[in-house]
């Protein structure tokens, strides 16, 4: 055997065994996510605590420019009121400044002080920090430094600001083009955690598995189901009848219409089976309701239930046609501007095909 051959065999064996060792380590101990794969979800997840109750994402640019939003606006759906309020309060124009947002609900803060703002919205976009700080100062807000990050706290000049102040709202610049809007205590915890390299949502494998499934969604939310049920304050009779759900996720893809997928993970296969029965019942009921309106009934087959084992999923599509069908009264009442003839963008037509 020549030296060249020997080197080749050794090199080949080395590649083989190194690869196998990586696989073996991943199999038994886990390889850090991102070493061999792009980490799922937005980069801002590094600011989300590992024990966050709910994490949500919305591609603001995509939703704002979608045909669905334009259609809903024509029927008097979303107005510019809320958008203007935020612009007045913070100087941030949602439609033009923000690309996407990541939001989460902090479980610890929720437990500690139910009245305080326990959520945080991380907005990624193009922000002029100097302009926004000047704007805040004009409004009587105070700007302070907290561990190298600029933190804006509302003043107490008017009733709205007093309310924000009492709720502990604050705005912080966490990085270039990244603004955090939410509870003061939550923001400080995020900044502390970031400085101390604390565990983040990326270190929560159960949550990351759910987030990884939301690829390409225009918006999504994942979290512990008990976080929703406790916030929703459902009646005891209802909560007793809901099979034990551990995790939930909801995602939607906005194009001409919106395609929504809701998933729930139960504690056992039996619980999942029960949940499927309940969902089936609700779907049947909805179909019966739609029976009064044949034009709407024609759109119902897009509701699909699925899932195996402990997972239950329900997907449905709300098409622009269904929106047209569901909102005739609004159109006829003359309260809102009459919609122009449906004009689908080319992209939505292609995707529908």
């Amino acid at each position: 055997m020549t030296g060249k051959t020997r080197y080749f065999l050794v090199g080949s064996a080395l590649v083989f065994f190194v690869g196998l060792s990586i696989g073996l380590v991943a199999y038994y101990g886990g390889v850090p996510q991102g070493l061999f794969a792009a980490s799922p979800g937005p980069a801002e997840l590094k600011f989300v605590p590992a024990d966050a109750a709910i994490v949500a994402y919305a591609n603001v640019k995509q939703v704002m420019s979608s045909d669905l939003r334009q259609r809903l606006r024509q029927f008097g759906g979303p107005t510019d009121e809320g958008r203007n309020e935020i612009k007045t309060a913070t100087g941030i124009d949602i439609e033009n400044d923000i690309e996407y947002v990541v939001a989460f609900m902090d479980k610890r803060q929720a437990d500690a002080a139910a009245n305080n703002t326990n959520g945080l919205v991380l907005a990624r976009g193009q922000f002029d920090q100097g302009r926004l700080e000047a704007f805040a100062r004009e409004k009587g807000a105070t700007v302070e430094d907290y561990k190298g990050k600029r933190l804006i706290k509302p003043g107490v000049n008017d009733a709205e600001q007093v309310s924000s102040h009492e709720r502990g709202l604050a705005v912080a610049f966490l990085g270039s083009g990244l603004v955090a809007i939410g509870g003061d205590a939550v923001i400080r915890r995020v900044i502390d955690g970031s400085a101390a390299s604390a565990k983040t949502a990326r270190d929560n494998p159960e949550m990351m598995k759910l987030i990884a499934d939301q690829r390409d969604a225009s918006f999504w939310a994942v979290g512990h189901f008990d976080a929703i049920s406790s916030q929703a304050k459902l009646p005891q009779e209802v909560t007793d009848r809901i099979p034990p759900i551990t995790w939930f996720s909801a995602s939607g893809h906005v194009n001409g219409g919106v395609q929504v997928m809701v998933k729930a993970e139960t504690k056992s296969d039996e619980a999942a089976s029960n949940l499927r029965d309940i969902v089936r019942g609700f779907v049947a009921l909805a179909k019966m309701q739609a029976g009064n309106r044949p034009e709407a009934q024609a759109l119902w087959p897009s509701v699909e239930m699925g899932g195996t084992g402990k997972t239950v999923s329900l997907s449905f599509g709300v098409t622009t046609q269904l929106i047209d069908v569901m909102t005739p009264k609004k159109r006829d009442s003359g309260g809102a501007p009459k919609p122009a003839a449906p004009k689908k963008p080319e992209s939505s037509e292609k995707s529908a095909k």
Partner: protein
């Protein structure tokens, strides 16, 4: 594969000093026809083998290992290996490309029915379609058929067969060299492909690890089985490459698509029964296969593959021992 440039570090057992010279002047083996075993019979007049320096022939295993040692470098650094590198490198290049696309955010690029395909499914399809159904038979055909046929074509078979070792040891040694060459090229490429492709679509390395181990074992078995079959064809047929290609891409494809027992006379039938990934729906062919599918049990498949390796090699060895190779002038 030729023995015209033997490795200077390797010394095959010789009958005397004159045997180390490949020209072997005066040897009876230099003639065009070589009936039976070259070493059988009394000392050849005029040959250096006659005389007191004649050594005892080494045992079969030792002889086979020496031929393996000699053949490995020749096989590994032949022009055929460039072909092997290209063939094996293309899936790896594809995997790297997918990985780079993923790194740059083109993550939803692989879709099936509108839904993004996870990396495990991509990796499984590549093992199925690229490796098991194409690469392994191709490597088997090109290397397996050439084990003896190349020596005959290059008229160098003489120099191997005049050694005081059995011809079957030559075949087995060369076969082992083929297995090591292909395994050492193919399996690392599969591991690299696994590292590149498996994490795509947020797949996990851990999830696919056990499948990878089965895939690696399966590819090794496939290379050994196809190699043995084509070594047999190479030992017995005059135009082995054509016959091998017809078998791999004619007979196997046809028999696998047809209902009935014909598929049992293919290697693919037993290999596919052991594949841990579900068969990708790649058109009418796979739909038909799924329709008439009968899958042998893993035990049956493994037994059949091992039996084929032993039987094909035994027949190949018998053919090499008995066949009279006529070297064309």
């Amino acid at each position: 594969m030729s023995t015209t440039t033997p490795d200077p570090n390797v010394t095959l057992p010789t009958a005397g000093p004159a045997m180390s010279d490949p020209a072997m002047p005066g040897s009876a083996m230099a003639g065009p026809a070589m009936p039976g075993s070259a070493m059988a019979g009394p000392a050849i007049p005029g040959s250096a083998m006659a005389g007191p320096l004649m050594r005892e022939a080494p045992p079969f295993v030792t002889a086979a290992l020496r031929v393996f040692d000699l053949s490995l470098s020749q096989m590994l650094w032949s022009r055929r290996t460039i072909f092997l590198g290209l063939v094996v490198g293309s899936p790896v290049a594809l995997g790297l490309m997918l990985r780079i696309l993923d790194a740059f955010g083109f993550t939803g690029s692989i879709r099936m029915g509108g839904a993004p395909v996870p990396g495990a499914a991509v990796f499984g399809s590549m093992i199925w379609l690229l490796y098991l159904r194409f690469l392994v038979p191709v490597l088997g055909v090109f290397y397996g058929t050439s084990l003896i046929a190349d020596e005959v074509d290059d008229k160098t078979v003489t120099y191997l067969f005049v050694r005081p070792i059995s011809r079957s040891a030559v075949l087995v040694g060369k076969y082992l060299a083929y297995v090591v060459t292909t395994v050492f090229v193919v399996l690392p490429s599969v591991v690299v492909l696994y590292l590149c492709v498996q994490p795509l679509g947020h797949g996990s390395l851990a999830e696919g690890f056990m499948s990878l181990l089965i895939d690696l074992g399966l590819l090794g078995l496939g290379l050994a089985a196809y190699g043995a079959l084509f070594a047999m064809i190479g030992a017995g047929v005059k135009r082995p490459l054509v016959a091998g290609l017809v078998f791999a891409f004619g007979w196997e494809q046809l028999a696998m698509a047809l209902p009935g027992y014909l598929r049992k006379f293919t290697i693919a039938y037993y290999l596919q029964a052991l594949v841990p990934h579900s068969m990708p729906a790649d058109g009418l062919g796979s739909a038909l296969q799924a329709l008439f599918r009968d899958v042998p049990s893993p035990t049956t498949s493994l037994s059949a593959i091992f039996a084929m390796i032993v039987i094909f090699l035994a027949i190949a060895a018998w053919m090499v021992e008995k066949r009279e190779y006529v070297l064309e002038q």
